[in-house]
């Protein structure tokens, strides 16, 4: 708890540093050492004004470049998840098992998309006030000793199985008194998720359609070429026009391909990552609910105990008339056992009180932290939406400008 506070304090002080991370140039590598398994290495370049990253030795404008593979990022993710349970750890792209089976793991399309997704992951971390300050991130982004560092880490990583089972046990319980704010957050995230998923699906279709349209134009282009050749000699003017038009169509087909590449490799990945990010946020909310459920259960137990005690004190509680009669017949001193019970209950109540207070603190703290995280999430989301929409607009503008240029030229050259 305090640890978290301290960390966030530190983050508050240091968050002015800029950090720009780019993941690029996926390269197929054959396995190091004896293992012959191939993997893909990504070039990760960091540009930051944080002096800690430069060890004071380098110029601030230097770009720090390291090469990492997917499993490295996975490790980073897991370590962060363990270290900062109250943070929304940005999700990594899926392992995509079927890609392995299809032997498509090293295709340009796959690695390009993944590299974009990994970049999203690292950028989200770098935007996060707490996560961006973690030393492991610095290690990951700068160190040449990462490989050895990783090997020592990987074997001794604590498992978080317990949490999983816990969460599973409580999967069907829900919070009794839900904060209105959270209800709203949940609703909003549901809606957002729904919309983004839909957009994702439609863009998938758009990409497919664009592909077939581009194909159409290639075919149309060849037919027009033939037509132009046929008309040559017969009507040279028309032949020339057809040729010009045909070139325009081919250009159109290229431009569609370019735009489509952007949509497929970048925009769709962004949407998918957004979906995952929303999912991570929901997980955090679930965890928060978990803490609250713990507190509520404890509270319930306490109220029960207090009520039992009160009943005993009042003389009626705890047992019914017949049991009292029986105990009376058996010669058991009711009064003594009652007093005994009451003292036991009082002990339990005081200890419960302490625990409850503790649980409440944890739950409240968690809730606060979660709200902060969600605010952070919203920031990242807003920034990403802005950025991706900006890129989308840019790409579209680029596309239409080139189109306009091409077709204006065609229009002018037509006789």
């Amino acid at each position: 708890m305090e640890q978290i506070n301290k960390d966030s304090m530190k983050a508050d002080q240091q968050k002015d540093f800029n950090m720009e991370i780019t993941v690029s140039d996926p390269q197929k590598r054959t396995g190091e050492g004896g293992t012959s398994t191939a993997y893909v290495s990504y070039q990760i370049s960091t540009k930051t004004d944080n002096p800690g990253y430069h060890d004071g030795k380098f110029n601030m404008n230097d770009i720090i470049v390291v090469h990492r593979r997917y499993s490295d990022l996975l490790l980073l993710h897991d370590v962060l998840a363990n270290d900062y349970p109250t943070c929304i750890i940005p999700p990594l792209p899926d392992k995509k098992v079927f890609q392995y089976i299809a032997g498509d793991r090293f295709s340009q399309r796959f690695t390009q998309k993944r590299s974009h997704s990994l970049q999203n992951f690292l950028r989200r971390i770098s935007l996060h006030p707490t996560l961006s300050q973690s030393s492991i991130l610095k290690m990951f982004l700068t160190s040449n000793d990462w490989d050895t560092y990783r090997r020592s880490l990987i074997d001794n990583l604590p498992s978080n199985k317990e949490e999983v089972t816990d969460a599973f046990m409580n999967a069907f319980k829900s919070v009794n008194i839900q904060n209105d704010e959270f209800i709203e957050i949940k609703e909003r995230s549901d809606k957002l998720d729904h919309t983004i998923t839909k957009l994702d699906k439609i863009f998938h279709k758009v990409v497919k359609k664009n592909d077939s349209i581009s194909e159409d134009y290639v075919k149309l282009g060849t037919a027009l070429q033939e037509l132009s050749e046929l008309v040559t000699g017969e009507n040279d003017e028309l032949a020339k026009n057809l040729k010009i038009f045909q070139e325009g169509i081919i250009q159109l087909s290229y431009l569609i391909n370019d735009l489509n590449k952007y949509l497929d490799y970048d925009y769709l990945v962004d949407l998918k990552d957004m979906e995952h990010y929303i999912e991570s946020m929901r997980q955090l909310i679930k965890l928060k609910d978990q803490k609250q459920i713990d507190y509520e259960e404890l509270n319930e137990y306490l109220t029960k105990s207090i009520k039992e005690k009160d009943d005993l004190i009042a003389g009626y509680g705890g047992s019914n008339f017949f049991t009292n009669k029986l105990e009376e017949l058996a010669g058991i001193s009711q009064e003594a056992s009652r007093r005994d019970k009451i003292t036991k209950l009082e002990e339990r109540i005081t200890s419960l009180d302490g625990e409850l207070e503790n649980a409440r603190k944890i739950a409240d703290g968690f809730e606060q932290e979660t709200l902060k995280e969600i605010a952070q999430f919203e920031n990242v989301k807003a920034k990403e939406l802005k950025d991706t929409l900006g890129e989308l607009a840019d790409e579209n503008i680029k596309f239409y400008e080139k189109m306009l240029q091409t077709w204006t030229k065609v229009d002018e050259s037509l006789v």
Binding site: I202, K219, L220, A223, E226, L385, G390, I397, V410
Partner: protein, 659 residues
């Protein structure tokens, strides 16, 4: 009105000329149709003749409609046409009055139905707007669409015929159908799909040498299957047909031959009920076989055309066959070469344009589904924008992106519609025209075939006649030689006597039996020749040889006769004099007829070649013009689309940058 009168007068004059010419021809010929002559006459009254002056297929300016006609005076028009009808039926006045009555009655019902239609039209237009996807357009997009329409309109600027509306109406039998209101010369007439279709079929029959503009194809069976009740009321299909019918009528109108044809004129004239038109001349007197009638005027009576051979259309000659057969006629050969060139060009066009048509159709489907996806994207971005309302600026940015997609969607719809109107429909029309051009080419080839058959037959007959005559000459020469020598040689004189006697015997025998039993008679001269030892030995030897030959051939002829019984398939030396004479006379007659036929077919060929060539060349020009027009139009469409989208995105981007 005056114009019409002039036109009608022209018609009448022409017809008179026609009649005169026909009569002249008929005097010369023994018209096999003399019994059915009135049928032609009645047809002729209705058909203004184009090719009265044989050979000249130039279009007479008098035949063109004066471009502007104010023809609101229907009565006058009707009267004159009825006058036309009257002349053939002059002795049967009742018929014409009946027909005039049906006309007037149908007129009133037409007007009724039109009234009904104009009411229903309000409905149809209002329901149309329901389907309009552009209800809440931004101004810019509305402008784009307008421009799009202008683009298409440009093509139709010179269109004189317009399809004003379409909608439900009840025909005179109370049947509920879809009608298309044709506006032409300030007159409106409603025609149905089936009527368009029958007009097209008729035009194809009337003009074997002219490429007839296509009409839209029938509803696919699939559509009926999917939506049996509403298929024919599909507004999109009706709109498409409206455009295509307008294009069809105007293309017809731009083809002078079709424009001046009475059937086409009647189609545009509200005074005529189409059902009556297709059940009266000239439709009813269309010949069964278009090869056996004057090629440029199928219903013009011609006694000679039915005598022409009718080659089987299924084995139309190939180009190389045609070239082979025309080796001896350089003029026709050159024309044929020209045809082959244009034909291969047209078929190449077809081979390229057909796949393009399919491609464009595919592309249209793809584009329209893409535009649907854009619409969805627009909707979901708007949803996203509403969800992000608390973020203020971001929300409006997202909204702008959504709007960009909305505009993309609408522009894409406009583009798709433009592609359909401009590219798909035009390419389809061209493909259909190219397909129809094959009909013209086949007809032309069949005509050539006909020409060839007549020519060869004529040659055969002429050869035969020559053969016969030559043989006769030879015999005459022989006779003369014999007679000359008989004066100086007794032996020869005896031979001549013998021959004469034999001839006499032969004639007698032939007169009785008329069989080919000449063996005895030919035996005798050989015997008699044995007596001769006189000087003109060579001559006699020659004769002897000849007679011996004849004897042998006579024997052969007996053998041949087992296989063939026709005399004219035998060499003239197998025939007796009477047979030769008979055949000679017969052949001379045949040749006379054949010569006439040959003249007819030669003229036909010239007409067909000229008319087909003009039509095909026009088609080629039309195709090229259309292609050029399409290119320009499409480029404009694409530019418009790009401009719209670019502006929308730039707007969105500037807002994003403000953040």
């Amino acid at each position: 009105m005056n114009n019409i009168n002039i036109f009608e007068n022209l018609n009448n004059n022409k017809i008179k000329n026609d009649n005169d010419e026909e009569e002249e021809e008929e005097e010369e010929d023994n018209n096999p149709f003399s019994g059915t002559n009135h049928m032609f006459a009645s047809g002729m009254a209705g058909v203004p003749d184009i090719d009265t002056l044989s050979g000249t297929t130039e279009l007479k300016p008098g035949y063109e409609y004066p471009s502007q006609q104010s023809a609101e005076n229907n009565n006058n028009h009707k009267d004159t046409t009825l006058d036309n009808n009257d002349s053939p039926y002059s002795d049967d006045a009742n018929l014409s009055t009946i027909s005039s009555r049906t006309h007037s009655s149908s007129n009133s019902s037409d007007i009724d139905s039109h009234d009904f239609h104009s009411n229903s039209n309000v409905n149809s237009t209002s329901s149309n707007s329901q389907y309009e996807p552009y209800e809440n357009l931004s101004l810019s997009v509305a402008l784009a669409q307008q421009q799009n329409q202008e683009n298409i309109m440009q093509d139709q600027k010179d269109w004189q015929i317009k399809i004003v509306e379409s909608g439900n109406f009840n025909d005179q039998w109370g049947k509920h159908t879809i009608g298309y209101v044709i506006h032409y010369n300030d007159k409106e007439v409603i025609r149905r799909y089936s009527e368009f279709s029958s007009l097209h079929d008729l035009l194809v029959k009337f003009f074997p040498t002219i490429v007839v503009p296509p009409i839209p194809s029938k509803h696919s069976l699939m559509k009926y299957f999917l939506n049996p009740i509403n298929a024919q009321y599909d507004t999109k299909v009706i709109e498409k047909r409206k455009r295509k019918f307008a294009s069809f009528l105007n293309n017809c109108n731009n083809t002078p031959e079709i424009k001046s044809h009475i059937i086409f004129q009647k189609f545009l004239d509200p005074d005529f009920v189409w059902k009556d038109v297709i059940h009266s001349p000239p439709v009813t007197i269309l010949p069964q076989n278009n090869l056996l009638a004057p090629p440029l005027n199928q219903v013009k009576p011609s006694p000679l055309h039915p005598l022409l051979p009718s080659p089987n259309t299924s084995n139309s000659p190939t180009n190389s066959q045609i070239m082979d057969s025309l080796k001896d006629n350089t003029e026709l050969m050159n024309v044929a070469k020209e045809f082959i060139k244009i034909e291969s060009l047209l078929s190449h066009y077809l081979a390229i344009l057909q796949p393009i048509y399919n491609e464009v159709k595919h592309n249209k489907f793809h584009l329209s589904s893409l535009s649907g996806q854009f619409a969805e994207l627009g909707a979901f971005y708007n949803a996203l924008s509403i969800e992000n309302l608390p973020f203020g600026k971001l929300s409006s940015c997202i909204e702008k992106v959504g709007r960009s997609y909305d505009i993309k969607y609408v522009s894409m719809e406009v583009l798709t519609e433009g592609i359909q109107n401009l590219l798909e429909e035009n390419v389809e029309e061209i493909v259909k025209l190219l397909l129809d051009s094959r009909r013209v080419i086949v007809f032309k080839n069949m005509k050539l075939c006909q020409y060839q058959i007549v020519k060869i037959t004529l040659q055969k007959r002429q050869n035969r006649l020559k053969e016969l005559n030559e043989f006769e000459d030879k015999l005459n020469r022989l006779d003369m030689a014999l007679n000359r020598d008989a004066v100086s040689s007794r032996t020869v004189a005896t031979v001549v006597d013998n021959l004469k006697r034999k001839d006499y015997d032969n004639n007698k025998k032939n007169g009785n039996t008329n069989t080919n039993n000449n063996v005895e008679s030919t035996n005798q001269p050989i015997e008699s020749n044995n007596n001769s030892n006189e000087p003109d030995l060579e001559q006699i030897k020659l004769e002897q040889k000849h007679i011996q030959l004849q004897y042998q051939l006579q024997k052969k002829r007996k053998k041949i006769n087992k296989y063939t019984s026709k005399l004219d398939s035998l060499g003239p030396e197998f025939l007796t004099k009477t047979e030769r004479d008979l055949e000679g006379k017969r052949i001379a007659k045949e040749i006379e007829k054949l010569n006439e036929c040959f003249k007819v077919i030669q003229r036909d060929i010239k007409e067909v070649n000229l008319s087909s060539m003009t039509s095909l060349a026009n088609l080629l020009q039309h195709v090229q013009n259309k292609l050029d027009f399409m290119l320009h139009g499409i480029v404009k469409l694409i530019l418009n689309y790009n401009l719209e989208c670019l502006n929308a995105w730039k707007e969105a981007k500037s807002l994003i940058n403000e953040m």
